[in-house]
Amino acid sequence: MKAMKKLAYIFTLLLIPVLLAGCDSKLIVFDPKGPVARNLSDLIVYSIIFMVIIVLIVFVLFGFIIWKYRARKDDGDFEPEEEEGNHVLEVIWFLIPIAIVIALMIPTAKTIYEVEDIPQGYEEEEPLVIHVTSADWKWIFSYPEQGIETVNYLNIPANHPVQFKMTSAGTMQSFWVPELGGQKYTMANMQTNLFLVADQEGSFYGRNTSFNGRGYAHMDFEVQAMSNDDFNEWVQDVKNTANDLTEDEYSELLKPTVIGRKTYNGTHLEWIDHAHGGSEQYIDSDLYEIHHGEEGSSSEEEEAEDAEQETNDNAEQESEQSTDSSTHEGHSHH
């Protein structure tokens, strides 16, 4: 027993630096950079307070009871009394959870309705519409009003509502930018909607959270919130320098690969919106065949090829630093 206690002690000591390491930088969910995420973060903190109270009560009661009523060598033949139960007590611990559930349910429902709409304070502005198309294993962002399209990065104006119209070109994905708001699934033949606002400029980490095969871990993107002027300037820049998106290029893009950033003039919405069917014409099952342990079957090689292709592409200057896109360059909140 002594050895075991020692073991427990050593482990607790070991845990302390780990816990402290977590404290000196804020966890991403508690570090919101926009009203939607702030709303969610507030709700989470509110619920945690309740949960900590519940846990404390149970732990204290538990510790007290097992200490006080432990079998002792000197308690002789002490035989505990039988107890039927106690209606008053049972009703109490039936009613208290009900009260807690109500206390949690009201703000939850309120928040659910709020996050499904344009955030408060931004209702007056016309939201920027961005179509999100998730594919294996990349994110395609179309700006129909601007007539441009980006892959694996997203530039948005700060302090301005953005409406995402989201769909998938095949498997199911989930679009998540934790510092800006909660996630939502993207599904083929369907459209989901998400409103986000970044109320400060900066770079945020976004990723897919719904597992969709080999390239899944690399399916992340950077969201850059910039001033209105910078955003417009960037759009102009793209229109002047980026290559046109062709149908051939687009079907190449939809093949299951991990690639870096890309930027195009024009959007694929001109010939297909995956929210309304037609995805199957781009799906080639042969490309999903797996070969165990063979060199090159993993995404790295494809990635390298694409990276090469990309550097040859002179329209990509603004994203040159991202040729190694798989290393989560967007996630730099620490």
């Binding site: 959870p97 309705y113 599904m187």
Partner: protein, 648 residues
């Protein structure tokens, strides 16, 4: 089809396993042959219809699968222990987390719990066996055939790789063209039929076979939870059957129930899967609640506090379990109203669960708590499960779930529910009922090592996952970069998993040690327990009870023991009717396994030919007129005298 497509080749880890599996098989066959045990195995185990032996076979399978699933877990922990680790490639990692999930839920938790139900429930209700003993054997062998077929995927053809939830479209043929997910569809189907039959069997057993006087409100709480669980099984497993049938049709015959092409609907899969999958969570956790209740009452030396409210809580949880499945996809774009309703139904589960926690605490209060290994598991369950429970409430809040969904926070939560709620319970139950099964106790000292290592390891493995989840790490990522800052958390978590594995190793060593050295003289009631199963010999005789007991109250055995009214009169002993062994359950199940294998590889001609075997088995079974046999009174008397001494 070429050989390299049939056998998984190229990966050194898998190659090593292939060799290891091959050698183990050859070694086992050689050993059994050398010991001349084939006939014994066939007569005593493979063809048995005895609920206790079937239960023990379930438990052995569960322990083996726990090993397999545990190794999967360790491999995953090794891969994520450091940023940019190159131990497993993405494909291998995907296969491992998929099989880890399926094996732990369906081929570890389920057989462990069903095994313990099989051993204990007929004894707790004073029955000689379950209602349909032969069907019970068929259930086990179908489960076993399914489990073996699923494990075969590891070395033959390739493992499933779409997650244990197998979401479409990913699980469809166009995105996962290999045979891996065929294994998933067919192995689960075969095992699922077995489970459904078990559910039916236990509903009938508990309804019809209770000893005289054992009214519903006198049922031991474990029997109650088994009964409610069986009802959920009967309600939920047909949904899985249908879902898997659609999945098989999609994958094998090109229909489009769930696929994107030709207008199939992937959301239909999510709905069907979770309509089964959420109740499944309670199928594994409710019997565990029952086990804890028995253990806590016994080692606190008190009756269960608030027995009636415990029963109502279980019924309430079972009812609510069918109404919450949408919380698995709050983020699929439901209306705010739908998400609000399912938030509420989900949170409501916390109410009866809270009632149970407080009832357990008050059972302990004013008791005389004895810290046996079994009791330690039950006690550790309370704080650990509370953490799982409160994080569950957090996840239930749909809006907040937008931030937790599919993250490591969720992974931490369900491990905090399932490991204390199921694994701790299984360990508590194994230590508790071990003497009933084998006639000796497991070693308490090694048991305590097992306990402390496992519980400490468990907390250190899963606690950090809450934090990486809140820091933006999604589940199922095989790698991450240094800049994320998750390395320290996950490295620590990996260390914890090693400690947990050491705990499991201590458990295995305990079984070995106890089989060799444990004291065989522990009596029939070594824990001074309260329920009927302790009224008979340990290990239990083939016929369970020489005379079917009569029950006058809740915890009847306890009061009769106090009053010294447990004796057996010679005149009460009559010849006992028992069912005969049968070869048809194992035969039919092996046939199912063979047909399943051919279906996995889409060799339809072979599948059709071999399915004749199933039909032969069924016909042979139909013409089986064996009505069982009688154990003569003298034989019963002799056996009873052996453990009771002279009869009155």
């Amino acid at each position: 089809m070429s050989l390299d497509k049939l056998l998984v080749t190229g990966d050194p880890l898998i190659l090593f396993s292939q060799i290891a599996i091959g050698l183990t098989m050859v070694g086992l066959v050689a050993l059994i042959t050398y010991l001349k045990r084939w006939k014994w195995l066939w007569n005593e185990w493979f063809t048995t219809v005895d609920h206790k032996k079937i239960g023990i076979m379930y438990i052995i399978s569960g322990v083996l699968m726990f090993f397999r699933g545990g190794v999967d877990g360790l491999l995953m922990k090794a891969q994520t222990s450091r940023p940019d680790m190159e131990f497993l490639d993405a494909q291998h990692y995907d296969e491992i987390f998929t099989t880890h999930g399926v094996i732990m839920i369906l081929f570890m938790a389920m057989p462990m719990l069903i095994g313990i139900m099989n051993v204990v429930v007929p004894l707790q209700i004073g029955a000689r066996d379950v209602a349909f003993p032969k069907l019970n054997a068929l259930s086990f062998w179908l489960f076993f055939a399914g489990a073996m077929l699923f494990n075969l995927s590891f070395v033959v053809g390739g493992s499933p790789d779409a997650g244990w939830t197998s979401y479409f479209p990913l699980a469809g043929k166009e995105f996962t063209p290999g045979v891996g997910n065929n294994y998933y569809a067919i192995a689960l189907q075969i095992a699922g039929i077995g489970t459904l039959a078990t559910g039916i069997n236990f509903v009938v057993t508990i309804t019809k076979m209770r000893a005289p006087g054992l009214k519903w409100m006198r049922l031991p709480i474990f029997t109650w939870t088994t009964f409610i669980t069986s009802i959920i099984i009967v309600a939920a497993f047909p949904i899985l059957t249908v879902a898997l049938a659609y999945m098989s049709l999609d994958r094998l015959f090109g229909t489009h129930f769930f696929t994107v092409a030709a207008g199939g609907d992937p959301m239909l899969w999510l709905n069907l899967f979770w309509l089964w999958g959420h109740p499944e969570v309670y199928i594994v956790v409710l019997p565990a609640f029952g086990m804890f209740s028995e253990v806590i009452a016994t080692f606190a030396r008190k009756n269960l506090f608030g027995y009636k409210s415990m029963v109502f809580a279980v019924v309430g949880i079972a009812f609510l379990s069918m109404l919450v499945w949408v919380h698995h996809f709050y983020t699929m774009g439901n209306s705010a109203a739908v998400n609000s309703i399912f938030s509420l139904t989900t949170m409501m589960i916390a109410i009866p669960t809270g009632v149970k926690i407080f009832n357990w605490l008050f059972t302990l209060r004013k008791g005389r708590i004895e810290f046996s290994t079994s009791m330690l598991w039950a006690l550790a369950f309370i704080p650990c499960f509370t953490i799982g429970g409160v994080t569950g409430v957090m996840l239930a809040m749909a809006a907040a779930d937008y931030q937790y969904h599919n993250t490591m926070f969720l992974v931490a939560h369900f491990h905090y529910v399932l490991i204390p709620g199921v694994v701790f319970a299984v360990f508590a139950a194994v230590y508790y009922w071990w003497p009933k099964m084998f006639g000796f106790k497991l070693n308490e000292k090694i048991g305590k090592w097992h306990f402390w290592l496992f519980v400490i390891g468990f907390n250190f493995t899963f606690m950090p996952m809450f934090f990486v989840g809140l820091d933006g790490m999604s589940r199922r990522m095989y790698t991450y970069s240094e800049s994320t800052g998750w390395g320290a958390w996950l490295g620590f978590s990996a260390l914890g998993s090693l400690v947990m594995a050491a705990g499991f190793a201590a458990f295995c060593y305990n079984i070995y040690w106890s089989f060799r050295y444990a004291d065989r003289n522990v009596g029939s009631d070594p824990w001074n327990a309260r329920t009927l199963e302790w009224a008979t010999a340990s290990p239990v005789q083939h016929y369970n009870f020489a005379k079917v007991p009569e029950v006058d109250s809740l915890d009847d055995f306890w009061y009769k023991k106090k009053a010294g009214k447990l004796g057996l009169k010679k005149s009460d002993i009559k010849p006992i009717h028992m069912p005969s062994n049968s070869w048809t359950p194992i035969f039919i199940s092996v046939a199912f396994g063979i047909v399943g294998f051919f279906l996995v590889f889409e060799w339809f001609t072979l599948a059709i030919i071999s399915s004749v075997l199933i039909i032969i088995g069924l016909i042979a079974n139909t013409f089986d007129y064996d009505d069982g046999y009688h154990i003569p009174a003298e034989e019963v008397e002799e056996e009873e005298r052996e453990w009771r001494g002279e009869l009155e």
